[in-house]
């Protein structure tokens, strides 16, 4: 019956349980995301939004609860197994690419995602054609520089490449972890436009974590706000459309119910 691409049930994560440093990072998270929905997740530092993304990706074992992808329980699968269906882009543009390898080698690795890597040649003519086709729409001329080492690229170009790498094999789920936060504003806007275009074109189920309220309001067809390891607000596309940044901050005040000058600073 459930048509959800991603279904998280009763998720709980405690770091360092039973020690003085015990932290409850996620508490009773229930979230169902239909196929092709683009969800923006906002929240302040320590709200659990990145932990939620990492839990979905399988970076660490869960304390309780389950995560299903297309109806299949993946919570026990190792990170590298799960990542065959999950594409990720990280905040640090350096995180998503291998710097001393060439653009085409990086993309070839991304294309092999779903398959067991064998002793066939990694970069083939056929793959190169596909790479050019995928890089062209970026408008950065990367398709003409397939043999260039990635460490010769700018931060924005590297992040655009990371984005293509994480989506080229059409993952079942795309996780964006503040992937424009480390870029300068103009480049960040370009990357966000590209993200929107790729997600729409490939109809990818997407979770995007961000600090930036404006970004969260502008992009995606659902908005989730997290605080203290819980989902405190969940707005659909209609409700979201009627909201401004100031409304969102007011909402945040309301649900969080705490003084949060620091958060406000971050969110503006």
């Amino acid at each position: 019956m459930s048509a959800a691409a991603l279904e998280i049930k009763g998720l709980r994560k405690v770091f360092f349980p039973g020690t003085a440093n015990q932290v409850v990072a996620l508490e009773q998270i229930d979230l169902a995301v239909p196929q092709a929905q683009f969800v923006s997740i906002i929240g302040s530092n320590g709200s659990g939004k990145s932990t939620l993304l990492n839990a979905t990706a399988g970076t660490f074992p869960l304390t309780a609860g389950s995560i299903e992808l297309d109806g299949r329980d993946v919570s026990k699968l190792a990170e590298h197994v799960r990542s065959r269906f999950v594409g990720r882009v990280f905040q640090d543009p350096r995180a998503g690419t291998a710097p001393s390898m060439t653009i085409e080698e990086n993309l070839a690795i991304a294309l092999m995602r779903c398959k067991r890597s064998g002793l066939r040649r990694g970069v083939t003519k056929q793959r190169r054609a596909l790479m050019r086709e995928q890089l062209g729409p970026l408008g950065m001329g990367l398709e003409e520089r397939l043999g260039a080492e990635v460490n010769k690229l700018s931060g924005g170009q590297r992040q655009a490449l990371s984005l293509v790498m994480s989506t080229i094999a059409e993952p079942r789920l795309l996780l964006l972890d503040e992937h424009t936060a480390a870029l300068d504003p103009k480049v960040a806007a370009t990357i966000m436009e590209l993200t929107g275009a790729i997600v729409a074109e490939k109809r990818l189920t997407t979770l995007m974590v961000t600090h930036n309220m404006e970004l969260a309001l502008r992009w995606g067809d659902r908005l989730i706000m997290m605080h203290g390891g819980r989902i405190v607000l969940d707005l659909d596309a209609e409700q979201k459309k009627r909201l401004g940044v100031s409304d969102l901050i007011a909402k945040f005040h309301e649900v969080a119910g705490e003084a949060f000058a620091v958060d406000r600073l971050l969110l503006d």
Binding site: A57, A78, E79, H80, V81, S83, R84, R88, F90, R94, A95, G96, T97, A98, P99, S100, M101, E105, N106, A108, I109, A110, M112, R113, C114, S117, G118, L119, R120, R121, G122, V123, M165, S166
Partner: protein, 300 residues
């Protein structure tokens, strides 16, 4: 003069497989693997023990390489246990310890394999004798050099091919950006084990060939292999450049030859063989300092 050249070339080519192995661990996998001090004599010991027992030198050489492959697997598995789930690629402690443990254990293995600390190969047929008989020529220094050069080129091209296969790209990425390649669905524990195995197989090949060429295997012949290997890698990179993996594989073979030529010259100049390890360490320090100094000079 010619003897310096031939002995330098011959030694450089005999050891170039070891240097390629060190290149794979240090540069490609970003794994400073100390196993090599044990896997070089392991290759020599296994080959010597088998040849001395009347086995064909080809079988004995392949067995030596096989033993090296296994040694690399052991280091890879130890590393998985020692890092205990933590996947911080910049944490070199478990990597160093894994290599040191295997290296130490191999000392005993090598003694056990040979049953003594030194196995002479004087009146037995080696791979070089076999080749001479096959080509019906007498193996002079130059003939040996030519044969080794052919093998080196062959190994270089096979490595080059391997590193550009799908699996090879994943192996390269494991050393270049482990977090990324994990996020792309590769089991980096597995790629690392295969890489370490391959590297130590190459190191053992050098050990096996050196033993057959010098006419004995000795349990102490591996001491300082890692530093000599690094010397070859760094000198190759500094002298011949590193514009691509394909190119740097040649550079590294060149580095191995230059390093052995320098050793041959030092011996001719009257430096005692016992002083060579200190000299090698100093060479590595100098070669490491060159890029830094060059940058400072350019800036000034």
């Amino acid at each position: 003069m010619e003897s310096i050249l031939t002995s330098g070339l011959e030694q450089g080519l005999l050891y170039c497989f070891m240097v390629l192995g060190v290149f794979i661990t240090f540069r490609v996998l970003d794994f400073p693997d100390l196993t090599v001090d044990g896997s070089l004599p392991l290759g020599a010991a296994v080959t010597a023990a088998l040849v001395a027992n009347g086995q064909s030198p080809l079988t004995a050489t392949l067995a030596g390489v096989g033993a090296g492959l296994c040694a690399g697997v052991v280091t890879g598995l130890l590393h998985i246990v020692l890092k205990s789930g933590e996947s911080d690629a910049t944490n070199y402690g478990p990597k160093l310890l894994a290599g040191i443990l295997t290296m130490t254990a191999l000392y005993t293995v090598n003694l056990r394999v040979m049953g003594r600390s030194n196995t002479p190969l004087l009146n037995v047929e080696t791979l070089f004798d076999k080749l001479a008989a096959f080509l019906s020529v007498s193996m002079t220094n130059w003939q040996t050099i030519a044969a080794l050069a052919v093998l080196a080129v062959l190994v270089k091209y096979v490595l080059d091919w391997f590193l550009h296969t799908e699996f090879g790209l994943c192996l390269q990425a494991t050393g270049d950006n482990e977090q990324m390649i994990r996020a792309l669905g590769t089991n980096t524990d597995f790629t690392r084990v295969i890489g370490l195995s391959l590297a130590n197989g190459l190191v053992a090949l050098s050990g096996s060939l050196v033993a057959q060429q010098q006419g004995f295997a000795d349990v102490g012949m591996g001491i300082g292999t890692i530093v000599a290997g690094l010397a070859g890698v760094i000198m190759g990179e500094v002298l011949f450049g590193m514009r691509s993996i394909s190119w740097v594989l040649f550079s590294v073979v060149g580095g191995s030859i230059v390093y052995r030529l320098l050793i041959a010259v030092s011996l001719r100049l009257g430096i005692a063989p016992t002083d060579l390890k200190l000299l090698t360490a100093a060479l590595v320090v100098i070669a490491l300092a060159v890029p830094t100094v060059r940058r400072k000079v350019v800036r000034a």
